[in-house]
């Protein structure tokens, strides 16, 4: 019997959707051989099995073990190139997803991997920073700071030791692209960090990976070891080594100064800036802390040139953004598109509308610190400028859709409670303000709010915005205040007078 070579994703979410059960069920079936790849990010179709055909790959969706005969017989597959969710994307950083075996360095190289590093090797450190300046890449971790500026500061600060740190804390609920990169294309992160190391003169790197991502940490450790064995890490006599370090469940440790404190083994408390980590970071040495997605975007920029990257997107937001759609949509998953689509377009074309039986109520963009948008505001363009103008943030690209069963008072309480739990405690408006905010909302929930409650909450919110040291306290009021703004009647129901 001929064995059908098929592909099945092996990332955490695909396994959570049932990919592992399929692989187990078919492990002793001679008619099929499974190659375990990364996931394409169309998670609503997982577990998805693909097969090579003369016209490219075909796919079967939401596969169950007894679908085996159909797949082996080639019956009922859909050409991958015709899946609308994927077809309408512009995959650059995520080009390998669903195609390669994540931990195979040779496959990474065959598909254009390490070209960015080669280009960087032919440039001076200043030349690398110049390429990034031309690319107009901004950090993808949330603050959207121009990458080249940070690198230039670290480059120009004299020190016998410098560090490069990948922020893999990915704390925003609703985001998972960093996890996908680490599990699905780990060498891309390594390559991006190596390019940064050369640009600033760092010889040591760390990947600070959250505790909740054991598979990602494992994949990174494995690929670092592979890269080391292939003499890739310290190629052309440039000494460089990488290490994976795990956090222990603290949202604020995603903030760069808190992250570095945690990396040194202390309480992850936020520090006042300046000095910025690029001048004085880990152990007081110049350190670049950047998001995983930011590093993973860099190899293509070096390989294709900064101008290529700058040609994508909108005026202030160049390149593509990895949007991660979740919540009550029909088609949750990862979408890489150039900046500039409207939120409505993204939800409609990719999200595919609401999950069966549910009606749209609001969407939150940018994680737990992001604003809520009602249906009337979905025409906002997905780019840093438009969001800044609306007082909102794109953050790390998380998009969570809430349906009409969502209780907005409870949601607002949830956000304040989250901030109260996660506050690092350094400053009063955040540490105490979030607790008071939660208490006010709990009183409203119990029907014991008074006429002043909402004013008090708004006042508190403005104080937190204006006086918190970092964005946790500074942005925490946004989801709460936008909930009150767009759904005032729900809050008023809980007021007695």
């Amino acid at each position: 019997m001929k064995t059908a070579r098929c592909y099945l994703a092996n990332d955490t979410s695909s396994r959570a959707a049932g990919a592992g059960r399929l692989a187990d069920a078919w492990s002793d079936r001679p008619e099929i051989q499974l190659i375990r790849t990364s996931s394409r990010g169309a998670f609503f179709l997982e577990p998805m099995v693909e097969r090579d055909t003369p016209n490219g790959r075909e796919a079967w969706f939401n596969v169950l073990p007894n679908d085996l005969p159909r797949i082996v017989g080639g019956v009922g597959g859909t050409p991958v190139a015709e899946i609308p969710f994927l077809q309408q994307q512009a995959r650059f950083t995520f080009a390998n997803f669903g195609i390669t075996e994540p931990l195979a360095l040779n496959e990474y190289q065959t598909r254009g991997g390490l070209k960015g590093l080669a280009a960087a090797q032919s440039l001076s450190p200043e030349g690398i920073v110049e390429a990034l300046r031309i690319s107009r890449l901004r950090g993808r971790g949330g603050a959207a700071f121009p990458v080249w500026k940070k690198w230039q500061v670290a480059q120009q600060t004299e020190s016998e030791q410098k560090y490069v740190v990948a922020n893999a804390d990915e704390g925003d609920a609703g985001t998972y692209c960093d996890r996908m990169i680490m599990e699905g294309d780990p060498f891309r992160l390594i390559e991006g960090m190596m390019i940064c190391a050369r640009a600033i003169g760092a010889t040591r790197g760390y990947i600070y990976c959250r505790y909740e991502y054991p598979a990602a940490a494992q994949a990174m450790k494995f690929s670092i070891q592979k890269a080391r064995e292939a003499d890739l890490l310290d190629c052309d006599d440039y000494p460089f080594d990488l290490e994976v370090v795990t956090g222990a469940g603290s949202y604020v440790c995603g903030e760069e100064t808190a992250l570095l404190e945690s990396l040194e083994g202390r309480r992850g408390v936020v520090l006042a800036k300046p000095p910025y980590p690029a001048e004085s970071g880990l152990y007081g040495k110049p350190t670049i802390v950047s998001n995983v997605l930011t590093f993973a975007t860099i190899p293509n920029i070096l390989a294709n040139g900064g101008a290529w990257h700058a040609s994508l997107g909108t005026e202030g937001s160049r390149g593509t953004m990895a949007l991660q759609i979740g919540g009550r949509v029909k088609q949750p998953g990862l979408v890489e598109v150039p900046f500039g689509l409207t939120l409505h377009d993204v939800l409609d074309r990719f999200g595919g509308g609401m999950a069966p039986g549910s009606r749209f109520k609001a969407v939150q963009v940018g994680g737990p610190l992001g604003s809520l948008f009602p249906e009337s505001q979905l025409d906002i363009s997905i780019c840093y400028d438009a969001f800044a103008e609306a007082g909102a943030i794109l953050g790390h690209g998380g998009i969570v859709v809430y349906d009409d069963e969502t209780n907005m008072v409870e949601l607002a309480r949830h956000f304040m409670a989250f901030t109260a739990d996660e506050s690092c405690g350094k400053c009063t408006p955040c540490r105490i303000g979030s607790v008071r905010g939660r208490e006010i909302l709990e009183r409203i929930q119990a029907g014991e709010g008074t006429a002043e409650s909402l004013d008090l909450l708004k006042d508190l919110g403005e104080t937190m915005k204006a006086t918190s040291l970092c964005a946790l306290g500074g942005r925490a009021p946004y989801p709460v205040l936008t909930a009150i703004e767009h759904f005032p009647e729900e809050f008023k129901k809980g007021l007695t007078h």
């Binding site: 955490t12 979410s13 695909s14 396994r15 959570a16 959707a17 990010g41 998670f43 609503f44 997982e46 704390g171 925003d172 609920a173 609703g174 960093d178 996890r179 505790y211 909740e212 991502y213 054991p214 795990t246 956090g247 222990a248 469940g249 603290s250 949202y251 945690s262 040194e264 083994g265 202390r266 309480r267 992850g268 152990y283 991660q324 759609i325 979740g326 919540g327 009550r328 949750p332 998953g333 990862l334 999950a355 939150q364 737990p368 998380g398 969570v400 809430y402 349906d403 969502t406 949830h414 409670a417 109260a420 739990d421 405690g425 540490r431 105490i432 607790v435 939660r438 208490e439 709990e442």
Partner: protein
């Protein structure tokens, strides 16, 4: 959820520092006293623990030139023992050459470091926004009803500990339940029984 929150609060409240975290007295990392004042069950360092602890600490003993890393050490201890007994703090501090208070401070700060031994299996239900939007709250309730335990607690026989977690990065296949290192997605309340069955 409210009800379980309340059940949960009673044993984790630190009245001495209530002013720091408000009257509701949630578990708080600003509450340094938590570990000193509370009377944890099963906190004694057993003989078996003692040798494992010594081993874990030995592997973390800083080389003379390196700076001690408290968090890394506590994670190593937790991975060896399943938790970090507060009674081990002095020994950890001594090996690292730091103060007891520094170790206690780090231990109380990070929510994934535990001072109590968890059940044989740790069930963590995601309460992130994507999961709650997809009714993760109902899944949590179903799990609690099934194993009859409050959030944060261990079942009497020690089979399960049930906890809430924030986003597991599985938002596109939510709601998410993590049992030990296994992640389950698209969980509904009616899945709960068969989901837990293999974990004895």
């Amino acid at each position: 959820m409210d009800q379980t929150d309340q059940m949960n609060q009673s044993d984790r409240t630190c009245p001495g520092r209530a002013y720091l975290h408000g009257s509701a007295g949630r578990p708080s990392k600003f509450c340094y006293g938590k570990m000193v004042f509370s009377q944890p069950r099963g906190d004694a360092v057993t003989t078996r623990h003692r040798s494992k602890l010594a081993e874990a600490l030995e592997s973390c003993r800083p080389v003379p030139s390196a700076k001690p890393n408290i968090l890394k050490t506590l994670l190593a201890v937790q991975s060896a023992l399943g938790h970090v007994p507060t009674s081990a703090i002095p020994q950890i501090a001594q090996v690292l050459g730091v103060t007891d208070a520094q170790v206690a401070g780090v231990l109380s700060y990070y929510s994934d470091l535990r001072t109590q031994p968890p059940g044989r299996h740790l069930i963590r239900v995601c309460m992130g926004e994507s999961c709650t939007a997809n009714h993760g709250g109902l899944v949590l309730r179903a799990i609690q009803e099934h194993v009859r335990v409050a959030v944060g607690d261990r079942t009497p026989g020690g089979r399960f500990t049930v906890e809430q977690m924030s986003c597991a990065g599985n938002c596109a296949v939510s709601p998410t339940v993590m049992i030990d290192e296994d992640l389950c997605g698209r969980v509904t309340p009616s899945d709960v029984q068969s989901l837990l069955e293999p974990y004895t």
